[in-house]
């Protein structure tokens, strides 16, 4: 289980976020690192995050979207605290500096937190030109050369064929390549 970092200084009772140690929030610094971290997370936590996200959105793919530059955030959990009535909280998971933290907050709080985060990046980008480009190239490195769909499908099928050729393969009833021999 990842250790918890008091990023928001919530324990102090105040909500002023501390200055980030690095001028750049390098959240896109390592795609693979983030992947590695997720795989170390408690799967139950991850699942609940996904379920909260997908329960009120219609899209086929998983979780709620985290718009990068759009300030109208959409967080699809529970309700809000209004008129003294406390609504349910949901987990907010934050990846920062190689650690993962999970907080249970109401949607409104979560929105505020994320807005703070966005603002911190925005301010630091204006301050540092050179680092802006660095952030940018790192960010653009997450734009891999995508493959043509037809070739992608062919390469996947070829992989399946190789698996079927292996000495340890046991054919099942729904093997595609046998069906091509059927009349």
């Amino acid at each position: 289980m990842a250790k918890s970092v008091d990023y928001l200084a919530m324990e102090n009772g105040s909500y002023i976020p501390p200055r980030p140690k690095h001028p750049n929030f390098q959240r896109t610094r390592s795609f693979r690192e983030i992947q590695g971290i997720i795989s170390k997370m408690n799967p139950e936590v991850v699942k609940s995050v996904i379920q909260n996200g997908s329960s009120s959105t219609n899209n086929k793919s998983f979780v709620s979207d985290f718009p990068l530059c759009d300030y109208t955030l959409r967080l699809s959990c529970g309700g809000d605290e209004k008129n003294g009535v406390k609504y349910s909280t949901s987990p907010l998971t934050i990846f920062y500096n190689g650690t993962v933290s999970v907080f249970h907050v109401s949607p409104q709080k979560a929105e505020d937190i994320l807005k703070f985060g966005e603002q911190a990046i925005h301010n630091s980008e204006i301050n540092s030109h050179g680092q802006q480009y660095q952030y940018l190239t790192q960010s653009l490195n997450d734009l891999p050369i995508t493959r043509r769909i037809s070739l992608q499908r062919f390469l996947e099928k070829r992989r399946e064929r190789l698996i079927m050729l292996s000495p340890y393969y046991f054919p099942t009833n729904n093997s595609n390549f046998n069906s091509s021999r059927k009349r």
Binding site: Q35, F62, P67, L68, Y71, L140, L155, R183
Partner: protein, 621 residues
């Protein structure tokens, strides 16, 4: 349309022959000549110019224009088209951005054929015979509407090219009712297979089919008997490209298809496993009886491996077109095969062909006109170790194959001298596309500024150009060269070029003919992009993904103008399941900008992931 002075001066007799058109009597001998000439004027640019001479010529063009390609379906409405060209015989429409072919556009983005087919079905185009839809959404209901209309009865060509949204139910209507079809084309379309009846319907009702294509579709229930029936009933059958169907079952088909010139698809089964006695059966044996038709000159066989390759040898020397994209050949196999194809004009292969394969081409296939080299698998063990194309192969190719008109290649390494060589030798090149793969960390010779300049200066017939590099691949100076030396280029795809806003601004001062620009992974700000749009005088379509998006996008206001639609697909991040690693991963989709001229106003069929750019949102702030 202005009347020309010369027309006003003419006082010709009313009765002058005007090819029996019975049209306005104030025309003269100039009109008669023009009416005789215009059937031979087919280039749309020439037609467009002619139609602006005067009202009369505009009218003649309007009623004689036979074919129109609408490069982006949202630039105009079906009603406008039917008013402008009511006698249209052939229509080609393109929908989704090209990026859709690379999985970058949501399925429900748009590009519906329904409004167009409805216009056709109500009889707005009484002479319509050929419909070609590319990257559009087609439903079964659309196909049913078409099949039941008067146009459907006389339709000769239907191409659903990389379309989606329909199933074999829709094809049933087509097969049953469109009995005049010469061409049914569905290559790479994503359709749902409900049963195999559609092919049988087509076979039973059609005797004039010339081209049948459902290559690279997921149709698995293909009965060889139905294909053979089509071959025996349709004596003019010239081109057949199908989905997976074992080649050994097509022996009867090949015998019946006596006029066949092109075949693609089929498949080769997995080699049989070791039998109990420990003897491997010969994988070629089931295919020894396959004999291709006598006129066959185009071939592409799916899952063809080294053992099955000899099936091509008897026809190799006649081949003009060869598709090895979906074969299972190594570098050496490519070399063996290509040596036997001296008449090859069009080759498609993955980069497993390697530099050695290109050297074989350079030696044996000097007449090659079109070469497309696609990206193979990334994993080392899945492709041949030699399976990389670099400057070595390109230099050999360009120096020896002087007929080259189309070259598209994914390279693992590149130098300026290779590009200079292409510029020096490939004088017939009209379409050049180069993608630098991102596997190798070090590239021999970057930036490519000088090579690109030499290539553009040397290949003066270039109309289409794509250059996809990496940071450092092309400086701002290099980007300005592209602007300076591309007088005739109409379409460009640029990836990871330039270093700063200066680059794109300089670029936009040139490219006088550039109509369609696609860019990816650029460091340009929204302000620079908007200014570049204003600088590119012929630009009518822009697509960008991955740019320096800072702020709320208000800098795009710079390019707001009449009839110019601006759509945004905001950036998103979402969790996806990474099948390869079996874990969760964050996928990052960078924002898109899509901007285009349109006479149709803003569209209203866009999904939630798309946002129309709204200038009024910035007015109060």
């Amino acid at each position: 349309m202005e009347e020309t002075n010369s027309k006003k001066k003419i006082n010709c007799t009313e009765g002058s022959s005007s090819s029996g058109t019975g049209s306005s009597s104030s025309s003269g001998p100039y009109d008669t000549v023009w009416e005789c000439v215009i059937p031979y004027v087919n280039d749309p640019r020439d037609r467009a110019a002619a139609s602006q001479v005067c009202k009369r010529w505009y009218a003649i063009d309007a009623i004689t224009r036979a074919h129109v390609t609408i490069a982006f379906c949202y630039s105009v409405t079906p009603q406008i088209l039917s008013r402008r060209f009511p006698q249209l015989e052939s229509l080609k429409l393109k929908g989704k951005p090209r990026a859709a072919m690379f999985n970058l556009i949501d399925e429900n983005w748009g590009g519906y054929v329904a409004p167009w087919l409805n216009q056709v079905a109500i009889g707005s185009f009484p002479k319509m015979k050929a419909l070609h839809f590319r990257r559009m959404i087609v439903s079964d209901a659309d196909l049913e509407t078409l099949a039941n209309s008067r146009t459907g009865k006389s339709l000769e060509v239907l191409k659903l090219d990389k379309c989606s949204g329909f199933s074999t139910d829709g094809l049933l209507h087509i097969g049953r009712l469109c009995r005049n079809l010469r061409t049914l084309y569905m290559e790479e379309s994503m359709l749902v297979e409900k049963d195999k009846e559609w092919l049988h319907e087509l076979a039973s009702n059609n005797s004039v089919l010339e081209n049948l294509n459902f290559y690279m579709t997921e149709l698995t229930q293909v009965k060889p008997g139905d294909i053979e029936l089509i071959a025996s009933r349709c004596k003019s059958l010239v081109s057949v490209k199908i989905s997976d169907c074992d080649i050994s079952y097509l022996v009867g088909f090949f015998r019946a298809a006596s006029s066949l010139e092109e075949f693609g698809g089929g498949s080769f089964s997995l080699p049989l496993q070791q039998t109990n006695e420990g003897v491997f059966s010969d994988p070629f044996e089931p295919y020894a009886g396959v004999a291709f038709p006598p006129k066959l000159c185009g071939l592409g066989l799916t899952y063809m491996g080294k053992a099955e390759m000899p099936v091509i040898y008897p026809v190799a020397s006649k081949l003009k077109k060869l598709d090895l994209l979906y074969s299972l050949l190594g570098t050496e196999d490519h070399c063996e095969l290509l040596k036997r194809c001296p008449n090859l004009e069009f080759l498609e292969a993955r980069n497993v062909i390697g530099d050695r394969g290109l050297e074989v081409l350079a030696q044996f296939c000097k007449g090659i006109k079109r070469l497309r080299i696609e990206r193979g698998a990334d994993e080392q063990e899945m492709e041949d170790v030699e399976g990389m194309v670099t400057q070595r192969g390109l230099i050999a190719l360009s120096q020896n194959c002087l007929e080259l008109e189309y070259l598209a290649v994914y390279v693992s390494d590149i130098t300026n001298s290779a590009l200079e060589c292409i510029g020096a030798y490939s004088k017939n090149l009209s379409d050049f596309r180069l993608v630098l793969l991102d596997r190798e960390e070090r590239i021999t010779d970057l930036p490519l500024d000088n090579g690109v300049r030499s290539l553009l200066k040397g290949c003066d017939k270039l109309r289409r150009f794509a250059l996809y590099l990496r940071p450092g691949g092309l400086t701002d100076v290099g980007l300005s060269y592209i602007g300076q030396y591309s007088p005739k280029i109409r379409w460009m795809l640029l990836g990871y070029v330039g270093e700063s806003d200066k680059g794109i601004i300089e670029f936009s001062k040139g490219c006088p003919s550039l109509q369609k620009l696609e860019m990816r992974g650029c460091c340009f700000s929204e302000r620079a992009l908007a200014m570049a749009v204003l600088g590119l005088t012929s630009l009518r379509y822009l697509w960008v993904q991955g740019y320096n998006a800072c702020g709320d996008g208000r800098d795009l206001l710079t390019m707001v103008r009449a009839n110019w639609n601006i759509e945004l697909i905001p950036a998103r991040r979402h969790f996806v399941h990474d099948d390869e690693r079996g874990t969760l991963a964050i996928a990052e989709d960078h924002a898109h900008i899509l901007a285009y001229y349109s006479l149709a106003g803003e569209r209203n069929d866009f999904p939630n992931s798309v946002r129309m750019f709204d200038p009024s949102a910035f007015r109060n702030t």
